[in-house]
Symmetry: C2
Subunit: 230 residues, 2 copies
Amino acid sequence: MSDDAPTRQRLLREAMRLFGELGYAATSIAMIEQAAGLSPGSGSLYKHFASKQELLSAGLDQLLQGTPELTARLEQTSSRALPRRRADAEAALNAIMVETARAGLARLDQDRDLNRLLFRGLEAFPQLMARFRDEELRRAQDATAALLAGLAEQGSRRISRGQNARGQNLRSKDANGGHEADWDAVAVVFVGAIAHYWLLRDVFGEHPSGIDEDRHVDAIARVAVAALLR
Amino acid sequence: MSDDAPTRQRLLREAMRLFGELGYAATSIAMIEQAAGLSPGSGSLYKHFASKQELLSAGLDQLLQGTPELTARLEQTSSRALPRRRADAEAALNAIMVETARAGLARLDQDRDLNRLLFRGLEAFPQLMARFRDEELRRAQDATAALLAGLAEQGSRRISRGQNARGQNLRSKDANGGHEADWDAVAVVFVGAIAHYWLLRDVFGEHPSGIDEDRHVDAIARVAVAALLR
DNA sequence: CCAACCGGCAAGTAATCACTTGCTGAGGCA
DNA sequence: TGCCTCAGCAAGTGATTACTTGCCGGTTGG
């Protein structure tokens, strides 16, 4: 299990895994040392990290660096062109949403420790939580909103005012007539649905409802397509 | 803050609050005693509970007892009749979904400690997690699925086969022709979206996206209506 | 009026916690 | 060879942990 990677890397990896599984407070230095192949109880960990907090911080740093792939993947997906015929476009939309939902779940799996950490160790460290929020959550959120807005614009084939430059703050949902969709908010809905499905499945082993990934992804896609086609 | 309620009740309440805020492992017996108005460090808590684990178990028991209101509320909502005219029906559907989403958020707020506990203390106690899953999550899930199925049936005004008796296991999504919606899975999507919005807002103070409750509820309702109207 | 009980407190217990100190042996370099 | 560096370890440090023991004042019931 613990290979011949440099000791510091093994410590970081095992620490993040244990923090994610047991929580920061419930994970002892000795456990981390043992998991990394060092003698438990010896202070050997402190040859590499000054404190438990610094270990957490360094671990979060490393996890947050392998991150900005989903963004690229989503933006790549959103640049696709849809077929002209309505039925074909609907099928293509469905395929895109299925693919996106699966990409989201895969990314959550890949960053399993990082996502677990948010609820099992970060709550006492506001600055680390802020980093997670800005470098992980907001990116996924924005990329998804951009994808949805792009698909909706392409689907409805009508030029929206102002080139639809959705930047940071479009707080006014009443300003746009009250009939255009609030894709930022809709993105929160879908990202939240996927993230929560993943979270519950991670916590319980399988989702409490018994619904498997295929059914959930299909439901997400179907609902999203319904929303996109007005 | 700590009133004149019986000591056992104060201990339970403060313990659940602290477990939810700090996590089970990071909350000490002394902290709970102090929060309940007892002398911290004295073992006075042990006059009422045999161990820290029993305290957690008893607290979860109590929290799970104040629970089955949302179910009733949802079932009450779902029994309403929709207007006949399509435009009116759409507005009524939207209102129902807004109301339901708000009820869900209110219930999450009301059971704040209980919901926090799932991620910050229960992971080491599988049997307590199982109780939470069966007595809290599945109920909300089933009630929401029943609401959606009822609304869809009413909206499409066509009798589905078999009186639509959706009980525990309708695993087969291919058996229904592939075109009828999987309302159990759709319910997971919406319940997950609401729960995750609440969770992130609870963890960060406000939702990382900056989207407020009104916008989110509106988005949920709009998407749900789109899904319900095919 | 007395005895039994009970809830709270002070002061423990042993274990565990994060972290430190001093040593050791291996590796690099002169 | 001689010396320095350094990762790792054993054995500590004091603080904190969950939990226990013995005592006490108040209430209650006979």
